[in-house]
């Protein structure tokens, strides 16, 4: 015997669109036939219920109520980011943000001498991490402009758009990042956590 009907196929049966090969199974399977009859009977019963129309007077009254409400309303202006052209560009903006992040944070590490990297790390460790919108300490003037562009772009990128652009974290990414931090980065993380705890009153 072939496999039993799936949920969608019971619907197809009730609506008269079940594929012939599956109808063969239905003829041979009492379980499926009983279920199919139940679904079909429920559909017949629901379909038989007429929709009572309101009084003819209701419609004029209804339209008048809507008209009265609308008189106090103005169609809302669509947000600029909701416009189709701009919306289509959001994943691209998010992707660009990733590129900028990489160029600002990782390329200097690869190109700077070890001493320079240590200096940057120690400046972070001493509490010089940037506040929102400010350029972090250790970023040079040229990078500062890039940082400003990144901050402006990131402020308009939602989590969903970031995910759509492939910026989502892999499972275990946080664990991996923490276990691979150097001492300066761990110190900075500890400082940030402490300041957050103080700020939240814990």
């Amino acid at each position: 015997m072939t496999r039993h009907l799936r949920d969608a196929e019971f619907v197809d049966f009730a609506e008269g669109t079940l594929a012939p090969p599956r109808a063969v199974h239905l003829d041979a399977c009492a379980v499926c036939r009983a279920q199919a009859e139940t679904v079909a009977a429920a559909l017949r019963e629901a379909s038989a219920v007429e929709m009572p129309d309101p009084s003819p007077l209701f419609w004029d009254h209804f339209s008048a109520r809507v008209r009265e409400q609308v008189a106090h309303e103005t169609p809302e202006r669509a947000a600029w980011w909701a416009l189709s052209g701009v919306r289509a560009l959001l994943p691209l903006v998010a992707a660009l943000a990733v590129v900028v992040v990489v160029s600002v944070t990782w390329l200097p590490r690869l190109t700077h001498a070890p001493g320079a990297t240590d200096a940057l790390a120690s400046s972070h460790a001493s509490g010089a991490l940037a506040a929102d919108g400010e350029v972090p300490a250790g970023v040079d003037t040229q990078d500062a402009e890039v940082w400003a562009v990144l901050a402006a772009a990131a402020s308009d990128v939602g989590v969903d758009d970031a995910h759509a652009a492939g910026m989502g974290m892999r499972p275990g990414a946080v664990d991996h990042a923490v276990t691979h931090m150097n001492q300066a980065e761990l110190n900075e993380l500890g400082r940030l956590l402490q300041s957050e705890l103080k700020g939240s009153g814990h």
Partner: protein
């Protein structure tokens, strides 16, 4: 993009008096946005019956359905600028209607009119003379039970059943309105019908 356009006959049914206009829905929306408030009156007249029926099927009573339908049009007016003219206004209104109904249902338990006659409902199908009063009463009672059972279905199942059975939308259109897949819509419809049968079986 799936679109749903209602025929002239359907539109002529939408209420008792339909403003005669040759303007398409998209033209009416453009006119509204240009500040012509009368154009929105035409939109309301054209679509009010379908929107009201959708709401009525959800909540099962005239009073709430009327309030919800009004809310649908107010929200539609506010969001008119977001309507894309290549889509169908009918489908767009259905989507707003389903959202309004689902949100309402989530905060308020529906109070369906079950067996009592609906107030101010005039266009009931007239029972044929051959049909006895008892048969008519039984049929009316059963219809009330079915409405009450539908009002007790989980909201997504209810939305699917209402759109499919009473608004004759294709599964693809329902998927578009509910933001799900055709497979999910069919599965919801299956469970809705199954649950409907169970609820009717448990009724006295």
């Amino acid at each position: 993009m799936l679109t749903r356009t209602w025929s002239a006959a359907e539109q002529a049914e939408s209420g008792c008096r339909v403003t005669v206009t040759n303007q398409t829905d998209a033209e009416l929306v453009a006119a509204c946005l240009a500040g012509e408030r009368g154009a929105f009156d035409v939109i309301v007249e054209r679509h009010r019956r379908h929107v009201y029926q959708l709401c009525y099927r959800f909540v099962g009573n005239h009073e709430d359905a009327s309030d919800l339908a009004q809310d649908v049009f107010i929200r539609a007016y506010r969001g008119l600028r977001t309507f894309k003219s290549q889509a169908s206004l009918g489908t767009w209104l259905y989507r707003i209607g389903v959202n309004v109904c689902l949100n309402r249902v989530s905060v308020k338990t529906p109070k369906p009119e079950s067996l009592e006659p609906l107030i101010a409902m005039s266009d009931q199908r007239v029972a044929s003379q051959a049909e006895s009063a008892t048969e008519s009463l039984l049929r009316s009672e059963r219809a009330g039970q079915v409405r009450a059972a539908i009002a007790r279905l989980p909201k997504k199942q209810r939305a699917t059943l209402v759109l499919r059975v009473y608004h004759d939308l294709a599964h693809e259109e329902i998927a578009n309105i509910l933001g799900s897949s055709v497979g999910a819509v069919k599965a919801n419809f299956f469970h809705a019908l199954n649950n409907l049968k169970k609820l009717l079986r448990d009724m006295p």
